[in-house]
Symmetry: C2
Subunit: 239 residues, 2 copies
C-alpha cells in the first residue's frame, strides 16, 4: 500500500531573484506528511506562461496531486490561472460564481470592483473554488491541480480548506536520535541498520556545536511498530 504523492509548484520571480524567501513549500511539506501524502517533488518557476504550463503538465501527469502557490492576484504579473487552464486544456472566463463573491466583498468594503479586481474571478470551466477566508479572492481545484495564493497566511488558509477533502494514506512518522559523533564515525553501522529495514527511510544530518561534530539520525516510516523496533536497535548502537 503506497501513499499518494504530491508536488508543489511555487510561481514567482521574487523567489528566484532572492528578494523573497519562500515559506509555502515548507508549510505544505509538514501538512502533507501529517495526512500521509508523500511530497515527492518541489519546483519554483518564474512568472513566465510557458514555464508554468510545462511544469504543471509534467507534475500533473506524474503525481496524485499538484499544489501551486502564487500568481493569482489582480496585477499583470498574475498569470497562474490562465497558465493552469492552458496546461489542462480548459477554457477560462470571469466566472459568475467568483464574480459574485468578489462583488459582494468589495461592496461591503466600499471599494470599486474594478477591472484589475475582476481579474481575480478568472477561473477555468469545471474547476471547484477554494475558499479564501482571509481576502475572499478564491483559489481553485482543476483536475488534480490545486491553485492557491502565494501570500503565506492566505496559502495556509487555503491548504487548511483543501487538505481535509483529500484522501491521504498512513501518516509518515519519524523518530530521531541525537548523537555526539560525526557522520563518518557512525555511517558504517547506520547504513547496515538501514539495509535491514527497507520499508523505513533513515537519514543522517550532521551539525557542529561548540566546535564538536554531532549527527541527528532520523528514521521515517508509516508503520509505528516497525519504527519502534528500529529505534530500539538504533539506540542500542549509538545511544
Amino acid at each position: 500500500m503506497t501513499n499518494p504523492t504530491a508536488a508543489i509548484l511555487v510561481i514567482g520571480d521574487e523567489i528566484l531573484s532572492g528578494r523573497t524567501r519562500d515559506s509555502n513549500m515548507h508549510h505544505l511539506a509538514q501538512e502533507l506528511t501529517r495526512i500521509g501524502i508523500t511530497l515527492r517533488e518541489a519546483r519554483v518557476v518564474a512568472d513566465v506562461h510557458a514555464d508554468i504550463v510545462a511544469a504543471v503538465r509534467a507534475l500533473s501527469a506524474t503525481h496524485t496531486h499538484v499544489f501551486t502557490s502564487g500568481g493569482i492576484g489582480p496585477t499583470h504579473d498574475d498569470i497562474t490561472a490562465d497558465a493552469v487552464a492552458d496546461a489542462m486544456g480548459a477554457t477560462i472566463t470571469h466566472r459568475a460564481d467568483a464574480m459574485a463573491l468578489l462583488q459582494a466583498h468589495y461592496d461591503r468594503a466600499g471599494l470599486p470592483f474594478n477591472e484589475a479586481r475582476q481579474r481575480m474571478a478568472r477561473i477555468p470551466e469545471g474547476a471547484t473554488l477554494i475558499d479564501n477566508p482571509v481576502s475572499t479572492a478564491p483559489g481553485f481545484t482543476l483536475g488534480n491541480v490545486h491553485v492557491m495564493a502565494g501570500v503565506p497566511n492566505i496559502f495556509q488558509a487555503m491548504v487548511a480548506s483543501v487538505l481535509p477533502k483529500l484522501t491521504g494514506g498512513a501518516p509518515l512518522l519519524s523518530q530521531s536520535l541525537r548523537v555526539n559523533r560525526g557522520e563518518g564515525e557512525i555511517a558504517g553501522p547506520f547504513g547496515a541498520l538501514a539495509a535491514e529495514y527497507p520499508d523505513l527511510s533513515m537519514g543522517s544530518y550532521p551539525f557542529v556545536q561548540n566546535g564538536a561534530h554531532g549527527t541527528n539520525l532520523v528514521i521515517r516510516g508509516t508503520d509505528p511498530a516497525l519504527l519502534d523496533a528500529a529505534m530500539i536497535r538504533l539506540t542500542r548502537l549509538f545511544g
Copy 2:
C-alpha cells in the same frame, strides 16, 4: 544580450518531509542575481537515484549552469555523486586526488579514514574539485553541473569558491516603492507602465500592516538608466 541561466537542484528527503527548511536556494538566488546569472528554476527531489538522474539531465540540458545541494556526505543516503555521474554519462571512482585530501585531513584530526569517510572521495572522472574550506570533503564540477554540500555554511563556502570562476552577465538590479494602497487599486496603471517597459520586469507584492493593505512595487532589470526612468514614472504615479 541575454544573461546566462541557472537552475538549482536541492536533494534531500528532509526538505520534502518538512523536517528541515531549505535555505540554500535563497542564498544562491541572491548570489546569482549579483553576478548577472538568471536563476530560472529550482527543484527539490528526494534521495532517490532515478529522481536525481532525471532532474540533473533535464536541468543540465536547458540551463547554462546547474547547482546541486545535498547528498555528498559519508552515509548510505548520500547518493548525489553517483547519480550525477550516471546522469552525465561519466564513470566514478574513489579518486586519488580526493583520497589524498581526505587522508591528510583525517590524519591531522587523528581520526580513522574509514570506508564511510572514503565514500566522500567518490568523484566522477573528468570533474574538477570544488574546495571545501570548512570540512575538506570536496564538491565537484562536471560539465555544467556544480555539486555542493547541503549543510548551509559549507554550501555557502562552495558557492563562494565556484561563482568567481563563472562568466556572468549584467547584474540584475532592482528598485522598489512601498505604497499604502492595495494591489487592486494600483494594478491598472501599474500594468500599463509595465507594458511600456518590456525590457524591465515589474512585480507587486501585497502586505497587510495594522489591518491596512499596502503593496511593494518592484522593478527589476539590467539597464540602470532604464530602471531609473521607470522608477521616476512609478513614483509620479503612486509616490
